[in-house]
Symmetry: C2
Amino acid sequence: MSLKFDLIATCGNARRGCVHTAHGTFQTPAFMAVGTAATVKALTMDMVRDTGTEVILGNTYHLMMRPGGDLVEKMGGLHKFSGWHGPILTDSGGFQVMSLSNLVKMKEEGVEFTSHIDGGVKHFLRPEDSVHIQYQLDSNITMVLDECLHLPTTYERAEKNVDMVTRWAQRSRDAFVNRDGYGIFGIVQGADFPDLRKKSAKALTAIDFDGYAIGGLAVGEPQNVMFDMIATTTPLLPTDKPRYLMGVGTPLDILGAVERGIDMFDCVMPTRAGRTAQAFTRHGTLNMKNARFRDDDAPIDDKCACPACKLSRAYIHHLIKCNEILGATLLTQHNLWFYQDLMRDIRTSIEQGTFSQFKSDFIEKYTSGK
Amino acid sequence: MSLKFDLIATCGNARRGCVHTAHGTFQTPAFMAVGTAATVKALTMDMVRDTGTEVILGNTYHLMMRPGGDLVEKMGGLHKFSGWHGPILTDSGGFQVMSLSNLVKMKEEGVEFTSHIDGGVKHFLRPEDSVHIQYQLDSNITMVLDECLHLPTTYERAEKNVDMVTRWAQRSRDAFVNRDGYGIFGIVQGADFPDLRKKSAKALTAIDFDGYAIGGLAVGEPQNVMFDMIATTTPLLPTDKPRYLMGVGTPLDILGAVERGIDMFDCVMPTRAGRTAQAFTRHGTLNMKNARFRDDDAPIDDKCACPACKLSRAYIHHLIKCNEILGATLLTQHNLWFYQDLMRDIRTSIEQGTFSQFKSDFIEKYTSGK
């Protein structure tokens, strides 16, 4: 048995489930904290756990550059190396190769690139290499290597992309070593063309993965286009496998995607915002640099149980004004806690059959600021 | 009753005691973590507590500049503002006025200075102002304002200094508001002149403080000069009051000072080192940037029970190479844990009458690196 997924309840197209891995179970819909370089930035792994996070995402690109797959394998895998003993999903590295490195050439065989991290050494990453590095990292969920197009793009370009990443998906599947509690996900591409999304979904389900991601969204398109592509794709995916929307998103993106049948999410938003003085609250976001918080003795969000919310906005504001590390740490933990509260509330509302009501209540408060 | 000090045991001149404050008790010999701007840099207050730290030091200079004594008072004092609910000692601000600001003029009335923090506004700090700000901060232990001379200095300069800070000490004592569980400490000055140290100690004990600090040491003089000045001063101080050596120091400084009758210490060393990749161990310090730690799967110190020592040197090295905040956080917590382990061991050895043996064993391991 590779990876076990239990579907516990549904509410419309929204799904409540859990995924069992060799390193424990996580509840879905799940938000994965982004732990780029074997650390969720500014937090200890204990702090990450305290937020309610059950699964984290590691970035294969960053880890292959520093400290390298060989080193992490030698150190006993990413769980032991980082001290995160729960489930880990790793991306393929493809997205960061294209967004962070100097892309040299995209070939049928793989992708050639250089990186500033090691002073411009030439690297070649094939689907098999990516799967192997993720094996070295001991990732519970391996993602296939793909090519993520930016929107808008042409139909011709998008079709070529779907065809190639389908072949790459097959090669990734073939390279994957089956083990109990480990799985590999395919990634549906097809830009904003419904028939290409269908073509991609059909081809990937034929290969048979342990879960299916939707990639190439939240890359510049309007939210309704993203929602349309999700709604087009999810009915074509098997109901007994988890579905993961990559790199998404805002609280409202997540609610709309859950409504359309998505089970898993990851995004740098809560953690990055925490390092740039932004705080998520049930009434919208706050810029904690703002002078109006100087003598505000209320917590960031009075409904939040996180450590930062035992302190005042005035204190958080003070830490940020003084460039104190603790400001980034407390805000990051708060934001992640906020996201995990949202996921907990989503899961409860699906179980209780009240997801739609929860969603509209949340959006009303969040967008009105009241 | 202002501040209660119990002397529990002695071993030679080394003393084992405890200090009772309105915000709880701390055991001595005690190491106070430096919490400059209402935060022990890079740590949450929970993490500080976990190290075994029982009392922290706040810097009046930083806090008066940002966020200001009025603001902290309005927010309910430094304990509530920062979330540190244990004992707090604050310095007078004098040392930082002289080391960090542009000193404009030292007068009998007080000290005039400007600071880069608020764009060069002129400030005037009198002994009464410093005591008042520390009152606003709700500090459990207030320090008198003094002038800290750098060594070497002349006898004439040092004598003038002793005479003036004695008058300032009396003014500080007079301005201090007596409350249960709060106290004020005088500061013995006198540079490296034994008879001036004696003169200062005699004058201060005549004023009658709740504890006595030794200031103006660890400012450039050799360690043996510092030890001589301590040994000259402590016999002149009352045995029923705590004694605090300001701004000291290395593990070896602390051992030598405890041996000469000191009860309290503060130093930025463990926390600052944690932000610059230095790790304290029972076998000396390590520079965690060093490439030899790249694949070292041992913990920083295998005798240490801190969270960082559940991870490998390789992981800490990786975090530092990637400039990850967590590297500073884990190393800071480790270093503070190391210091508090040292203080625990010192206290136990005094209780057991084995301090001298403990000291020589510690120094042997620490300096040999074995």
